[in-house]
């Protein structure tokens, strides 16, 4: 009797293993599993974020097929715009934070360079933040007062930087992932809210969603809402 219970074929074991891994992955990818880190200036209410400027988001998605990853430049561009818009909505609806427009560089080359250089500075800082996200709570990270070179509206309290990467799976790869294992479709967003006057990293959050990043609109909204949960809202 005991023998019959214990006899599980290797194949069954493997399938169970895959299932367990999938469950673990989904748990890890659920938005609740991801924390937000606030600068002491925010937690002590020394600084209140009322108005922000959102710099153009940079979200990259690829289509992973059995023949390797393929670029999705047009979809990435579209998704960047959607994430940016959704962050604006979440901040306005949940936190009553207004978004100001980025000064249009138009044909101004210098303005374009300044935005590019500030974006590059954030990209340089991001790996350091990712290495020790908890240090945001100690106020360790800053982009310096170079952020003032953006010449934003004087009333802006913070600048929001958005980065993201994700993958969508082809139908073949979906089957393969189910049978063999591997990364499912996902979108990971990294958001830094930077003090517009000092360059300090005020908030860092990285909401993640599991599923096709190009179509999961509601899940994206919910992930962003949870991502900004700890950010104090502006009293009306």
């Amino acid at each position: 009797m005991i023998k019959t219970v214990v006899v599980i074929t290797r194949l069954r074991k493997l399938q169970l293993g895959c299932l367990a891994a999938l469950v673990l992955m989904i748990t890890a990818l659920s938005p609740d599993a991801h924390a937000q880190f606030l600068h002491p200036k925010i937690t002590s209410k020394q600084v209140t974020v009322r108005k922000v400027v959102i710099l153009p988001a940079k979200v990259e998605v690829v289509r992973d097929s059995m023949k390797g990853p393929e670029g999705m430049a047009a979809e990435s561009e579209e998704l960047s715009g959607r994430v940016e818009k959704m962050v604006t909505e979440v901040l306005a609806n949940q936190k009553h934070i207004n978004t100001l427009t980025v000064p249009a560089s138009g044909g101004d080359t210098q303005g374009k360079y300044t935005v590019a250089d500030i974006q590059a500075k954030f990209d340089d800082l991001l790996p350091k933040v990712l290495k020790k996200r908890k240090d945001v709570k100690q106020g360790r990270f800053s982009m310096g007062d170079e952020v003032l070179n953006l010449n934003l509206d004087k009333s802006a309290d913070a600048i929001v930087f958005i980065r993201g990467r994700g993958q969508k799976l082809s139908s073949g790869k979906k089957t393969f992932t189910l049978l063999v294992g591997g990364m499912p479709a996902y979108l990971m967003i990294q958001i830094g809210v930077i003090d517009a006057h000092t360059g300090d990293v005020l908030v860092y959050t990285d909401p993640i969603l599991a599923g096709d990043p190009t179509t999961a609109v509601n899940r994206l909204r919910s992930a962003l809402e949870k991502g900004f949960k700890k950010l104090p809202s502006v009293s009306q």
Partner: protein, 512 residues
């Protein structure tokens, strides 16, 4: 060298397959012998293990056939062709373009992606929008196209500078060739620029990106199929063998991907030399560019297990041997194209721009190297200001890395530290050491000296006052800093960083 690596991997794979097969047969024989020797056990074995073992055999064969198909055909044939090309004199070599290439759906999809990438680079302010530089790059690029006006399907030649202080260049298959400002300012003459462009143009002419993409897709498919076979490997020796094969094979496939890429790089180097000769550029400058790239100012050239480009020393070696007698013929035009001053005159604004980019990217040693080159060439007040900026931001770091710091392991450690520490933390750590303090003292003196020269020259530069202000602020000399900042804003009331400087003045006034 690369071809040999690929051939070796093929031999290794087949020997592995033979061993696997032999192991399987031995195990099967042993099993049969044992079952025959044990009465009553044969029925058990026959009912369960034979179907499993035939499945195992099919898996092993499938696995090895896929691997062999993926490795053998393109690499060895290509290697032979490349070896033959090496021996051909420039005049006899085939057309620079890959005329046999036919566009498929996959290639057109890739083309669409790169067209979008082109637009994005421009939109995001990553392309240097300097007309003089763009015109110059286009002139040099077009001069390399032989026969003149050579047209290719889905290629529109565009040569542009990319705002990046790291020396680099790349070509998109749609004909867009980008050379980073870091690369432009590292080179000494137009011929070296032509060498870089010729190399990149060969990638476009020979349709390397498309070929590599096609090859990689096949190899990815092989790896995925192998992973699937490995995941469902049966038990016993055969299963263990399949697991080993499927675990090892992806590394071999990866190696062939890099090997194939190295082959293409090699072809681009050699065809590039032919293009240079045809356009009357001294071909040995290709070797000189490699030597320049080998000069590792920031300690960034870390050797990895896999590389998509051949090692620089190896490139220098095969380029030198390919050049042979080709380098002997020197025409007056070649001499002109080697002129350093003419090139530097054209690159002066790019150099200034690149110093700022290098400082922004924390590549302070490169900034000093570049600023010194700039001042040596033309010591005007603006260039002297940049020298001051470079020394001020270099701070407690040394101007050159020591031999110990240039070892591969030291470079790896430094890269890890760069990932963890912020620039300010690095400076604080260095300032806690006697060497760091000494460096800082020396560099602050040099910076102050340069700034002073820049503000007292015939054409004083306003930004030098800002530099002095920042230097004094760092040294804790608040009054001096405020005075310099104010002078800067007085001279340049419409400065784009006015708000930043005004905030600094306000903060400094608050401090006792």
């Amino acid at each position: 060298m690369d071809e040999v690596t690929e051939d070796r991997s093929l031999v290794f794979l087949f020997s592995l397959y033979e061993r696997v097969h032999l192991g399987y047969i031995t195990a099967r024989l042993a099993l049969l012998t044992r079952s025959a020797a044990t009465p009553g056990s044969s029925s058990n074995m026959n009912s369960a293990s034979i179907p499993l073992n035939s499945r195992a055999l099919v898996s092993v064969l499938l696995c090895c056939c896929l691997a062999a198909a993926a490795f053998s055909v393109p690499s060895s044939a290509r290697a032979r062709r490349l070896r033959q090309q090496d021996k051909l004199p420039a005049a006899q070599s085939q057309s620079p373009a890959n005329d046999d290439f036919k566009f498929g759906k996959v290639d057109l999809e890739l083309l669409e992606q790169v067209d979008l990438l082109d637009k994005r680079l421009e939109r995001e302010g990553l392309v240097l929008e300097d007309d003089a530089t763009t015109v110059y790059l286009n002139r040099v690029g077009q001069s390399l196209l032989v026969p003149r006006g050579l047209t290719l399907e889905n290629v529109t030649w565009r040569f542009r500078a990319l705002r990046d202080s790291q020396p680099n260049a790349f070509a998109l298959p749609n004909g867009s060739v980008y050379v980073s400002t870091g690369m432009l300012t590292l080179m000494d003459n137009e011929s070296q620029l032509a060498a870089v462009l010729a190399h990149e143009m060969t990638h476009v002419l020979r349709r390397h990106t498309y070929l590599q993409n096609r090859s990689n897709r096949k190899k990815f498919l092989t790896m995925n199929v192998m992973a699937a076979v490995g995941a469902y490997a049966p038990g016993g020796i055969a299963g263990a063998v399949i697991t080993i094969v499927t675990a090892v094979a992806p590394f071999i496939v990866m190696a062939t991907m890099y090997g194939y890429s190295r082959d293409l790089e090699r072809e681009a180097d050699l065809k590039g030399i032919d293009m240079m000769l045809a356009a009357e550029y001294p071909p040995e400058e290709m070797v000189n560019v490699m030597k320049l790239l080998n000069r590792d100012i920031e300690g960034e050239n870390i050797r990895l297990f896999y590389n998509d480009h051949p090692a620089l020393n190896e490139r220098i070696k095969y380029l030198t041997s390919y050049l042979g007698a080709r380098a002997d013929k020197v025409t007056p035009q070649m001499e002109l194209n080697r002129e350093k001053a003419a090139y530097f005159r054209k690159m002066e604004p790019v150099m200034r721009h690149d110093i700022q980019l290098a400082i922004n990217a924390g590549r302070f040693r490169s900034a000093v190297f570049l600023a010194e080159r700039l001042v040596d060439f033309h010591p005007d007040s603006e260039n002297i200001f940049w020298l001051g900026e470079a020394y001020r931001t270099l701070g407690p770091r040394s101007t050159q890395l020591t031999e110990r710091e240039l070892t591969n392991s030291a470079k790896k450690d430094a890269a890890k530290k760069r990932e963890k520490r912020t620039v300010e933390e690095e400076e604080r750590e260095l300032l806690a050491t006697p060497a760091g303090q000494e460096n800082w003292k020396l560099h602050q003196q040099k910076a102050e000296e340069s700034y002073r020269k820049a503000v007292t020259s015939e054409n004083p530069v306003a930004v030098a006052h800002r530099g002095l202000g920042m230097l004094y602020e760092k040294l804790g000399r608040s009054t001096g800093a405020v005075a310099e900042y104010e002078k800067y804003l007085e001279m340049l009331p419409a400065a784009t960083d006015r708000e930043r400087i005004q905030k600094r003045i306000t903060d400094l006034r608050k401090t006792p």
